[in-house]
């Protein structure tokens, strides 16, 4: 695929990695915020290519993982109701609530449907006027424009049977919260490139200045990630703390203005609880007054939810970057993608899932020497 494959060139990647080796003189800890970047790093072995002193700390960039358990349980309660068509993205299906997951609700007769786009859910609502159609709108700023448009279209078409279950979280407050937390070790951030394609990066200079920390807007392909890391290391070695854009082919300083306009109309900022982290003020979006009628939590009034986290699950520590997934005692034992204890093991952006699915059971040394003797034609 054009503008994708070229940024996966292995030979160039090796050379870029050698550049980083040549530049780094001290250990540095860099956090990538976005779960998609975590997956790309682990899948492509980018972390294995870096000098030993450079540690990638995986951030809470998994919107599913930080959605409060209570909201997941509410989603399950709504999905189980007769007369409801519950729509979501594919990877939500096996996220465990306290007692069940969407897949089990579906098995028990609930009408749960996977869709590619929230607009598909609006179409389902238009085609099924006698049912209540709910879309589980979980995501960062990248997904918010799609959800905003779906509600906007539903309103324009006068659909009374469509609603959005909202779990939107924002990146800048999360970064500030991580930097504020006692014992924080992160010294630089790779900013989520696709979040910035929507929001731009005008929100970040004050953060870079206040905490004196380099922030680099970074893409997702191996070469983009290596470039982001390279630039962060250069800044760290030079003692600089600026906002840089390493994803210029997609991201501009101002971002996507039409999207930001509709977002401002459909959503308003609110405090949000981040599972495993706690409440971060002004870190989420909820539907604005003008669109509140489309809020599924208000429409369905689910009460009597009793949530219970697994005592073994350390997803919170993983999300804050305090431990790596393989350091959790339950990793690969009580907790696997088939029997996940927390969302990080089952969401497509969860760090635990990345480590498990890309087999980080072997030690770094074992992995490096595996496949020796592989001959090339």
């Amino acid at each position: 695929m054009k503008y994708l494959a070229e940024f996966r060139n292995g030979e160039i990647a090796q050379r870029m990695a050698r550049e980083i080796h040549a530049i780094a003189t001290r250990p540095w800890k860099i956090m990538e915020v976005c779960g998609g970047q975590t997956h790309s790093i682990i899948k492509n072995g980018i972390d294995q290519m870096l000098p030993a002193g450079i540690e990638m700390i995986h951030g809470p960039g998994c919107p599913v993982c930080v959605t409060p358990l209570e909201l997941i349980d509410k989603a399950l309660a709504i999905a189980a109701q007769p007369g409801v068509i519950f729509c979501s993205f594919g990877d939500m299906l096996r996220v465990p609530g306290t007692d069940a997951d969407l897949f089990q609700i579906k098995g028990a007769g609930g009408d749960v449907r996977v869709v590619y786009s929230p607009l598909d859910a609006v179409e389902i609502a238009a085609k099924n006027p006698d049912k209540q159609v709910v879309f589980f709108g979980v995501g960062f700023e990248t997904t918010a424009p799609a959800n905003a448009m779906s509600v906007h279209v539903a309103k324009r078409r006068g659909l009374k049977n469509f609603s959005l279950l909202v779990s939107h979280v924002l990146v800048p407050p999360a970064i500030a919260a991580i930097l504020e937390s006692p014992g924080n070790k992160v010294q630089a951030f790779l900013l989520a490139g696709h979040v910035c394609s929507v929001m731009g990066y005008w929100e970040y200079p004050p953060i870079a200045a206040k905490y004196e920390i380099p922030l680099v807007v970074t893409g997702f392909e191996p070469l983009d990630l290596l470039d982001g890391i390279r630039r962060a290391v250069i800044q760290l070695e030079a003692g600089r703390h600026e906002v840089e854009n390493a994803y210029e082919r997609i991201v501009t300083f101002a971002g996507n203005l039409p999207a930001q306009r509709l977002l401002a109309e459909v959503f308003e900022v609110t405090d949000r609880a981040w599972r495993g982290i706690g409440v971060i003020p002004k870190s989420g979006w909820r539907l604005s007054e003008a669109y509140r009628e489309f809020d599924a939590e208000e429409r369905f009034h689910i009460t009597g939810i009793h949530t219970e986290e697994s005592p073994l699950c350390r997803a919170g520590d993983v999300l804050r970057g305090a431990i790596k997934p393989a350091e959790c005692a339950a990793f690969g034992k009580e907790c696997t993608p088939r029997h996940p204890l927390g969302a990080t093991m089952v969401s497509s952006e969860g760090a635990c899932a990345a480590y498990f699915n890309y087999g980080r059971f072997l030690s770094a040394e074992e992995l490096a020497t595996a496949g020796s003797g592989l001959t090339h034609a």
Binding site: M1, L4, R8, N9, G10, A13, Q14, K43, N44, G45, I46, Q48, M49, G90, D91, R94, R113, V114, V115, Y116, D120, P222, T336, P337, R338, S348, F356, N357, Y358, G359, R360, F361, L362, E366, L367, A368, T369, A370, G371, S372, G373, L374, T375, H376, A377
Partner: protein, 370 residues
């Protein structure tokens, strides 16, 4: 070779729904059925309606002596030697997809299971569970496709059964096929026979079937030229065994769970490690793109017309040449080798030059694929 009596042979893998309902003028069905050509409960009852289906649909399509005797069991003449038997049920959704239908899948799936076991497939049974209301035209199209697939594979469908369940209790049509084949002399294959040093070959592009299904799966549809690779592999496998004989240690067709699952299974069964080179995996561009779009990995996507071979290193070149000379094996490639390290694990060298473990898939990535 049995003579298949039907007006034209449809291109196997291009089930033609435009043909419409079969000619009912010679049927003695009650009037309502001719007027509304769908399956009714009576078709599964073993009475007159059921016999109509056999006489007018199955028999003409599958025509062979064993079937025509219409006994409760097919009486077969088998050459002496060891036999292999296999069975599979098919629940794919949707029933018709780019490149084929549940019919061809049902025939080729069982043919291939026998072939990768080192047997020459000979006879198949075909059992149908139909939902009340299922259009007869679709059943006819499916059956014609099965007949064509059987002819191509050189097997006969010699016995079968039809049951009907009430509307709402079955997704249109489920098919089970069971097959018998005769084991070749002079070979020893099995999933536990892979040895360190063996070369691993795949017969062509991976991921076609699964992504063809996804392209028409409700909620995720996309436009593409991707077609299922559904095909009978016994001819190609026969040529490989002719050429390499005992040098072939293991064979398997990577269906559900894709190449990754098959390699993991053999690694575990044989107690060996497997290393592959991702850059050498043959994947069609559109399949790669579709996987990007849906966030899937081609190594986990189902195939229905591909085989994986574990052969002694010295025979790899020869097997590759045989595969590439066969119409179904043109894109064959050597993708890796067996090692004594990391036993039971599949490790891949990525395009980055790093190594990653490709784990056994947990659960069904793409349900109702075959």
């Amino acid at each position: 070779m049995p003579e298949i009596a039907k007006p034209e042979t449809p291109d196997v893998g291009a089930t033609d729904l435009s043909k419409g309902a079969p000619d009912f003028s010679s049927w003695s069905c009650p009037l309502p059925l001719v007027g509304y050509p769908t399956i009714v409960m009576g078709h599964g009852g073993g009475g007159k309606l059921g016999n109509e289906l056999v006489e007018h649909l199955f028999l003409p399509a599958f025509r062979n002596a064993a079937l025509e005797s219409l006994g409760d069991a097919a009486v077969l003449n088998l050459p002496s030697g060891r036999l292999a038997m296999s069975t599979d049920s098919f629940v794919v959704q949707p029933l018709f997809f780019p490149g084929g239908s549940i019919g061809e899948l049902a025939v080729n799936g069982t043919v291939n299971d026998l072939a990768v076991s080192g047997a020459a497939p000979k006879f198949l049974s075909a059992s149908f569970i139909l939902e009340e209301g299922f259009p007869l035209a679709q059943l006819a199209a499916m059956v014609e496709a099965m007949a064509a697939a059987a002819a191509t594979a050189g097997v006969q469908i010699v016995t079968g059964d039809t049951k009907v369940v009430e509307r709402g209790h079955g997704d249109g049509c489920y098919i089970n096929t069971a097959g018998i084949g005769v084991l070749r002399e002079g070979i020893q294959v099995g999933p536990n026979r892979a040895k360190p040093g063996d070369a691993i070959l795949v017969s062509g592009m991976i991921g076609d079937h699964g992504m063809a299904i996804m392209s028409v799966r409700e909620g995720l549809e996309f436009e593409s030229q991707i077609r299922s690779d559904c095909a009978a592999l016994n001819g190609m496998i026969g040529e490989v065994l002719d050429a390499a004989g005992l040098a072939v240690h293991a064979m398997r067709d990577p269906t559900r769970g894709g190449l990754a699952s098959t390699l993991n299974e053999i690694a575990q069964a044989s107690g060996v490690g497997i290393t592959i080179d991702e850059a050498r995996l043959p994947v069609r561009t559109e399949v790669q793109s579709a996987c990007e779009l849906l966030g899937l990995d081609p190594v986990y996507v189902a195939n229905e017309g591909k085989a994986v071979f574990f052969v002694a290193a010295e025979a790899a070149e020869q097997v590759l040449a045989v595969l590439k000379a066969h119409p179904l094996g043109r894109d064959a490639a050597v993708i890796g080798h067996v090692t004594a390290e990391h036993k039971g694990m599949l490790v891949a060298r990525t395009a980055m030059g790093a190594n990653r473990v490709i784990a056994q898939q947990i659960g069904e990535q793409l349900p109702r694929i075959c």
